[in-house]
């Protein structure tokens, strides 16, 4: 069947870049959700979010080192245990860290001018980066290559490996869980209500500070999950990785419509795909120009982003 429809090499190549773009895009999406949720609820661009992601990947690396599982040759059961532990401990760590930073730094500044809070977020970003620098040094560190690169769709002309499957198998359920939480649970409705009108939310009996903490916890946990996936996929981590990935994720949030969760996911996928296609066909140095060029064009025509709020509040 497939042999009959022989795929032109150029098409196969394009398919490859698309898959890679979608994989990276879903990572950007997970990080972007953390930006967009926090922005939605307290209008803070949390510049430290990308660096939280970096610290998460360092912790995940620590789990692998601690268990001594550093290559794919390790016993399968140990590899699975390692990955599962990473997926439990890292999100937990990132959630706690994110909540703590909000509690001791952002919350006391809640009534201060926006700029004050943003500057302190930039400060937190540097502190995180320095912690990362102390923790694992200035040079990139190898992250254990625990998942095989066996092609799962051999014979189709495309490649989709166990690694790709891992990314999809972790990011998609995480996004579905988040969607269910935000759409259907009481906490999720309280988060949306607080984002839309914090004053009215308080009148409903919502403890706004607790909802904000929950938002930082969820955003942090998603960044933690993304950091595990990133480490396993890219196989190298360094203390500056939060900056570029954070910037892409933040751009994804803006592109999708900041404050809008499906928008962040869409924005992440668009940036992942555009970035990879740009790299492939225009060269690495044009990829970023392409991403930000598209961002600017979209914002010119849709200032609220692709899925930004269109309903107006009637006063």
């Amino acid at each position: 069947m497939f042999e009959l429809l022989a795929i032109h090499p150029a098409v196969a190549e394009l398919g490859q870049f698309l898959i890679l773009g979608l994989v990276l895009g879903s990572l950007y999406a997970l990080i972007a959700i953390g930006y967009t949720m926090v922005y939605g609820i307290i209008e803070l661009i949390n510049f430290a979010h990308g660096d939280l992601f970096m610290l998460g990947s360092f912790l995940a690396l620590g789990v692998a080192i601690g268990l001594g599982v550093l290559t794919a040759d390790a016993e399968v059961a140990w590899v699975i245990l390692t990955i599962v532990l990473m997926l439990i401990l890292t999100p937990l760590f990132c959630a706690c860290l994110n909540v703590t930073v909000d509690r001791i730094i952002y919350r006391p500044l809640r009534k201060s001018p926006k700029l004050t809070v943003i500057v302190s977020a930039i400060g937190v970003s540097f502190i995180f980066m320095n912690i990362g620098l102390f923790w694992r040094g200035a040079t990139p560190v190898k992250f254990p290559d625990l998942i095989a690169d066996t092609n799962l769709i051999e014979g189709t002309g495309f490649r989709f490996t166990w690694k790709d499957a891992m990314v999809v198998g972790i990011t998609v359920p995480a996004m579905i869980a988040l969607t269910v939480l935000v759409k259907f649970t009481t906490l999720g409705k309280a988060m949306r209500a607080t984002a839309q009108n914090p004053l009215a939310a308080q009148l409903m009996g919502i403890n706004v500070n607790r909802v904000i903490s929950a938002t930082f916890a969820i955003g942090g946990a998603l960044a933690g999950i993304a950091s595990v996936v990133y480490g396993l996929y890219i196989k190298s981590v360094d203390y500056q990785m939060g900056f570029q990935n954070g910037l892409y994720a933040f751009t994804a949030a803006v592109l999708g419509g900041v404050g809008n969760i499906p928008g962040a996911v869409l924005g992440g996928l668009v940036i992942g795909v555009v970035g990879e296609l740009g790299k492939a066909y225009l060269g690495a140095k044009w990829s970023e120009a392409l991403i930000f060029g598209i961002l600017i064009i979209i914002l010119l025509f849709r200032p609220t982003g692709l899925l930004g709020a269109r309903t107006r509040e009637k006063v």
Partner: protein, 240 residues
Amino acid sequence: MSAASPLLVVENLEAGYGPINVLHRLSLTVHVGEIVTIIGANGAGKTTTLNTICGLVKARTGRIVFNGHDLTQLPPHNIVRLGLAQSPEGRKIFPRLTVRENLEMGAYTRTDPEGVAADIQKWYKMFPILEKRKSQLGGLLSGGEQQMLAIARALMARPKLLLLDEPSLGLAPQVVVQIFAVIQELNRQGVSVLLVEQNARMALKIAHRGYVLETGRITGTDRADLLLHDPRIRQAYLGE
């Protein structure tokens, strides 16, 4: 009426924003079963009064006692639990929650899902337009519909006392009549009401008692029917 027990007692309340005091030794009482109105010009401090009672604005001195509980130091989310709900000025509907979700948020403090579902049906009966629009986003309702939603949402907390801030603001006259009929009907069903209005005529018509608020001070209080015929009130607030 004065034989009834006090539900809300505010004594010598001072509150404001930044360095400015807006309320000056303000005292008022709402008894069980009453509709009490505060009338006053724009900027007199009516909204500040309600928001201080709800805990959104901190009391600087004085006391607020509701149903035996001292509210003065409580955060807003704990005050709702005691049975005090507000339909705020400008309605403050959650624009991107559906009508039904808005009502569910009103019941946020409750832990009886069956009771909440039954209450939603109850208020749908009283406000049929809300049932018709139950799956629409709150932000897409007309002003009058939003006002009904704001009242129904406050009622979802099953409050003993309902605070209403300018429920007639920006609404067409027929809608205003409808809203005030609803307030009276709710009061007949046992809800006590503290009603803030610039539309003093309508408010005094349905209230039992009224307070006159001028630049943060209570300058008069009486039975509502007497205030309605007080020449000074008629001149200052009823446009005569």
